[in-house]
């Protein structure tokens, strides 16, 4: 399908990109990898008057790993994350989740910032950002602001990002080496949208119990979110088959998944519970 007509600009500074977006008065869109925006345009789900291509902004393409955590520039591609050996230990949950993103060719183009801005309910990166309490740094005409990932996503394909704002970077908090984690998702075909997915981690306290449990869900919801009811079922308890089952049932009860032609709400709810069991079994190993 052919794209609708639009104006095109490839600015060489962030400031220029922001002012081009602002000049579009809500009808200009930032173009990063284009792996979600261009199909949306092919289907006429999006018809921006202008695309502001971010390809020349090398400052958006950096991955920084330090004691404070990992910072991923908005222009970092899935491929860059896969190729960065540091992230496998610095952010293992992120690295595991990114393996599930689409296909080889898409992973060579798709970006962190694009996925966050697009906010597909089944997308891995938004789910990881929410689960890991990441912060999203955005730049607009009035300057920068930092948005907690938990407050960024408002619904399917909806975020609190303003039309004239650009995602600059996502900061993932530091990851203790002994943290336990698991990621599971199920799609009907390899690389396809997840019917449901679970990202989870917890730390172990001096008594051997789970603490700081984080459980995030994608696919079986309108936007990625944590599930405190299921987290509560694990905090302060030893993670074993009994507590895993309790957490999974609490998760199922808490979810309100959508129904569509790919899966019913009941199927998605049950699937999410099963995936949480598997993710926690992986974590507890």
């Amino acid at each position: 399908m052919k794209f609708p007509a639009f104006e095109y600009a490839a600015p060489s500074t962030l400031a220029e990109a922001v002012s081009l977006l602002a000049a579009g008065r809500g009808t200009a869109k930032a173009l990063a990898g284009g792996q979600s925006l261009l199909p949306a345009m092919a289907f006429r789900l999006a018809m921006p008057s202008m695309l502001v291509d971010l390809r020349k902004l090398k400052e958006l393409q950096k991955i920084t790993v330090s004691e404070d955590g990992a910072r991923l520039g908005a222009g970092v591609r899935w491929r860059d994350i896969e190729d960065d050996a540091r992230l496998r230990t610095a952010q293992p949950l992120l690295a595991a989740a990114i393996e599930h993103v689409a296909h080889y060719q898409i992973r060579n183009r798709g970006t962190v910032g694009g996925s966050l801005a697009h906010a597909d309910p089944a997308a891995e990166m938004p789910g990881i950002a929410v689960t890991c309490d990441a912060e999203i740094r955005v730049l607009g005409p009035k300057g920068e602001r930092i948005i907690a990932a938990g407050h960024f996503f408002t619904g399917a394909l909806s975020t609190t990002l303003a039309d004239d704002e650009l995602i600059v970077e996502v900061s993932m908090p530091a990851w203790p080496a002994k943290r336990r984690w698991g990621f599971e998702e199920l799609a009907r075909r390899r690389g396809d949208f997840a019917l449901a997915g679970i990202a989870t981690f917890y730390d172990i306290d001096v008594g051997g119990c789970a603490t700081n449990t984080h459980i995030g869900v994608i696919g079986a919801c309108m936007c990625p979110h944590r599930v405190p009811q299921a987290e509560k079922a694990l905090n302060g308890r030893v993670v074993d088959e009994t507590t895993i089952q309790a957490a999974a049932r609490a998760l199922e009860e808490a979810l309100e998944p959508p129904s569509d032609l790919h899966a019913s709400a009941a199927y998605r709810r049950s699937l999410a519970g099963t995936l949480l069991e598997r993710a926690l079994q992986h974590a507890a190993k």
């Binding site: 609708p4 007509a5 695309l51 689409a102 898409i106």
Partner: protein
């Protein structure tokens, strides 16, 4: 907009509308019709080309975005005198029937084996999962790519 890039080793310059995707630019403006357009929304993989070493879907990249890049299509992965090792393997294993998906399979496999000549069958299967074939059932394609690894290991892939 004027766009300059390198196509199969030769510099080219075209006047492309911003809305023109790379596949249409290559096929209609540069008359290289080896790149096939299947779904045109990033699902089928038939239009895969190699941009600066990376296999990408040419229906999901604008022609104006490849300014200054090196683009390789299936035409750039053949020789005049003989079949390439990948082509020979596809022929030997009957890895195609109608041939529509083949350019995307060849470009994807070439990008993969260039970077990962030791890719095992699982890795090949995983990478080719982004390319749809309606004829072969995939097994023969995977076998062909697996066999071509040897040539890439010894540096005579292309």
């Amino acid at each position: 907009m004027r766009v300059q890039f390198e196509l199969n080793g030769k510099p080219v310059e075209v006047d492309a509308l911003p809305r023109t995707h790379l596949a249409d630019c290559i096929r209609h403006q540069l008359m290289q019709t080896g790149t096939h357009v299947g779904c045109e929304h990033g699902v089928c993989g038939a239009c895969t080309v190699i941009v600066d070493g990376a296999a990408v879907r040419s229906c999901l990249i604008l022609a104006v975005q490849v300014e200054g890049s090196k683009v390789t299509t299936v035409e750039g992965l053949s020789r005049d005198d003989d079949l390439t090792p990948l082509q020979k393997a596809f022929r030997k294993h009957h890895a195609l029937q109608c041939g529509f998906c083949t350019p995307g399979m060849i470009t994807t496999a070439h990008a993969l084996l260039t970077e990962e000549p030791d890719a095992d069958r699982d890795r090949i299967r995983e990478v080719l999962s982004g390319n749809i074939c309606r004829c072969t059932g995939y097994v023969n394609i995977i076998e062909a790519v697996y066999e071509a690894r040897e040539a890439y290991r010894s540096g005579v892939g292309k």
